[in-house]
């Protein structure tokens, strides 16, 4: 019952209201004279320095859902859930140079979304539209899942109800507030709130990983307890180490997820909001601090085993909701005021990424659908207006997903999202390095990767479900005589690349027209202070330093 949790609920509410106020005030934070521009609302003025970027991207990538779902996975399956650590280790050295190129060319051309880049690079509105739609579809369920993070906390605090509407009322209110201040402040709101969110998370987790092992008899005991639990379970693929069957899955999942992460529109939004290349490079060394945090949070799953936590019942009778293990662990082990702070950290942790994701999705719609197909002559002010309204629609959609559909549906969609966003890799990430691919071949590769990825996910069964049971595709379905599994997205993107390469050769040999390239090689190295080019200007433009103000910002 909620009455036992009054302290926790009070602290949660107080902190929630604090950040809401910050969200509204944020519209005046680092404000420029002309706020009616998509660069201001959607990218915070493209002027964030090292610290703000660190908090913003950290708060953006390491979402509340991650903080709830990763320990839940470790709790349920053990070592497999730890893939989050290699995933977030390999990501930064991998994108270190790629993101700088993206930033530079976007700075020169004023790109706001990855699809903007594809549009100019491959001279193909169709390919850009596909990239935009893929981005929107992959992002929407991700926003919905942030609500799952808040719900896990609310459930543990006993804030539930009989009817569907009563159960979801707190979330609807929370998202209405979030929608209001995102509408008003744009990317500045999550950037400012991220300071509170991340500070809370760091404090809570460091306290937890120092105090809980002491209370539970030490790390050795914790791992031994987990080992004993997995040894007793009938599932052959759990355990505190990997086995021969899931090693390939572990590695391809970590690698594939890393490839996908910076293809997500919301990650790119965070990157493009930074002031210069230097900020990005320094952040590639600083962001792994969050990976340490994520690794420690993952281990909370084992602590929950050692503390004998029983997850709360799931939405349907007879199931358990593993997402509640960390909230329940805190509830059991800590005084209620501290638990309240921890819950607030998760709750607020959901708001930052949800805001950035809705902004990113709205920007995609505005730039690559509205401006491209509905109103070609839209002014920057109109773009900002449309984007603001779209962000509201996106949030209503996310809430509707959770209220009217089984949350499992969002989880499935997010799983699919990771696989489909990977299919933009050849156009966006490789496109930053080479214009070799034929635009038609990229479209065909995308289609093949999407179809294959969806088919593979459909084939994956789990103990409780016959389809969409996970991303671990059994290789025997390809006819291999093995029990090994592999990450479906990884195979799909390989097929995508293969088709794109083969078809490029064919289309080139057949001399099919391939459009131009509106970017020039030097633009991939432009930095703060280099002038903007307008959309129609070609390379060789006079390098008159029209934005001198930016150049001496340092």
């Amino acid at each position: 019952m909620w009455r036992e949790h009054v302290t926790e609920i009070s602290i949660f509410t107080a902190l929630f209201l604090l950040v809401s106020a910050m969200g509204f005030i944020a519209s005046r934070w680092r404000a420029s004279k002309d706020m009616a521009h998509l660069d201001e609302w959607g990218l915070g003025g493209r002027n964030f320095g090292g610290w703000i970027t660190w908090f913003l991207i950290g708060g953006d990538l390491y979402t509340a859902y991650t903080f709830v779902a990763v320990p839940a996975l470790v709790f349920g399956a053990g070592a497999m859930g730890f893939f989050a650590v290699p995933y977030t280790v390999v990501i930064y050295p991998m994108v270190f140079l790629v993101l700088c190129r993206l930033w530079s060319v976007s700075h020169r051309h004023g790109f706001v979304t990855p699809a903007d880049f594809v549009r100019s690079r491959f001279d193909s509105p169709v390919l850009a539209l596909l990239v935009a739609i893929t981005g929107i579809v992959a992002t929407m369920p991700y926003i919905a899942l942030q609500l799952v993070g808040i719900e896990a906390v609310l459930k543990t605090m006993g804030v539930t109800g009989e009817s569907s509407l009563a159960r979801h009322l707190p979330i609807i209110i929370a998202f209405a507030i979030l929608a209001a201040y995102t509408y008003q402040s744009g990317l500045r709101a999550p950037a400012l709130i991220a300071f509170v969110k991340d500070t809370l998370i760091y404090v809570v987790i460091l306290a937890a990983v120092l105090y809980l092992p002491y209370k539970l008899g030490g790390w050795g005991e914790i791992f031994d307890a987990a080992d004993a639990k997995f040894a007793a379970s009938p599932n052959p693929n759990d355990g505190i180490l990997l086995n021969a069957n899931n090693q390939v899955q572990y590695v391809t999942l970590a690698f594939g997820s890393a490839l996908a992460l910076f293809l997500y529109p919301h990650s790119i939004t965070g990157v493009l909001a930074s002031r210069n290349r230097d900020v990005i490079k320094r952040n590639m060394s600083a962001l792994p601090a969050y990976s340490v945090l994520l690794g420690l949070i993952a281990l909370l799953g084992f602590m929950a085993i050692a503390a004998d936590v029983q997850p709360l019942p799931g939405a349907t009778a007879g199931t358990v909701d593993n997402n509640t293990v960390v909230p329940v662990l805190f509830d059991q082990q800590f005084p209620s005021w501290f638990t309240g702070v921890a819950y607030a950290a998760i709750g607020i942790g959901a708001l930052v990424p949800a805001a950035i994701m809705s902004i990113a999705a709205a920007n995609l719609f505005t730039r690559n659908i509205y401006k491209e197909y509905l109103r070609r002559d839209a002014t920057p002010a109109q773009e900002a207006k449309v984007s603001k309204l779209t962000s509201l629609v996106v949030k209503i959609g996310a809430v509707a997903c959770i209220v009217f559909l089984d949350p499992q549906f969002s989880i499935d969609l997010q799983l699919i999202g990771g696989v489909i966003i990977l299919q933009t890799l050849p156009a966006v990430a490789l496109g930053l390095y080479t214009r070799w691919f034929h635009r038609g071949a990229l479209i065909a590769g995308w289609a093949v990767g999407m179809s294959l990825g969806m088919w593979m996910l459909y084939q994956v069964s789990s103990p409780t479900r016959s389809h969409f049971g996970g991303s671990a595709f059994p290789l025997e379905k390809f006819g291999f005589d093995t029990t090994m599994t592999i990450y479906a997205g990884f195979v799909a993107v390989l097929a995508n690349l293969l088709v794109a390469t083969a078809l490029t050769l064919v289309l080139r040999a057949a001399k099919v027209a391939d459009g131009g390239d509106r970017t020039s090689p030097d633009e991939y190295f432009a930095d703060e202070g280099d002038p903007r080019v307008s959309r129609d200007e070609r390379r060789g433009v006079d390098a008159a330093p029209e934005s001198v103000a930016g150049a001496n910002a340092r």
Binding site: F82, P86, V89, M94, G220, E221, P288, G295, P521, D530
Partner: protein, 80 residues
């Protein structure tokens, strides 16, 4: 180097610094964490952590060290 596309002096200068053999170092923290043979055992334990866990957490430091190193080695040399 980098005289192939002398667009603007500033861009050419930046370009010269973007290409560096040091960048190849970035492959190390990408490849090493993806080889389970290195870490998929229990022993030795450190502070109770099986090797699987402490070594992978240590790879985070490897990643930070390499990206920092590459950043410092390829940084613009005192022209700002």
């Amino acid at each position: 180097m980098a005289t192939s596309e002398p667009q603007t002096p500033a861009a050419a200068k930046t370009r010269a610094k973007d290409k560096s053999p040091w960048n190849w170092l970035l492959f190390v923290p990408v490849v090493v964490p993806l080889i389970p043979a290195f870490y998929n055992t229990d022993s030795p334990r450190i502070l109770g952590f099986p090797r699987f866990y402490w070594l992978q957490l240590a790879y985070i430091l490897l990643g930070v060290a390499v990206t920092t190193l590459v950043y410092q080695l390829t940084k613009k040399r005192g022209d700002r």
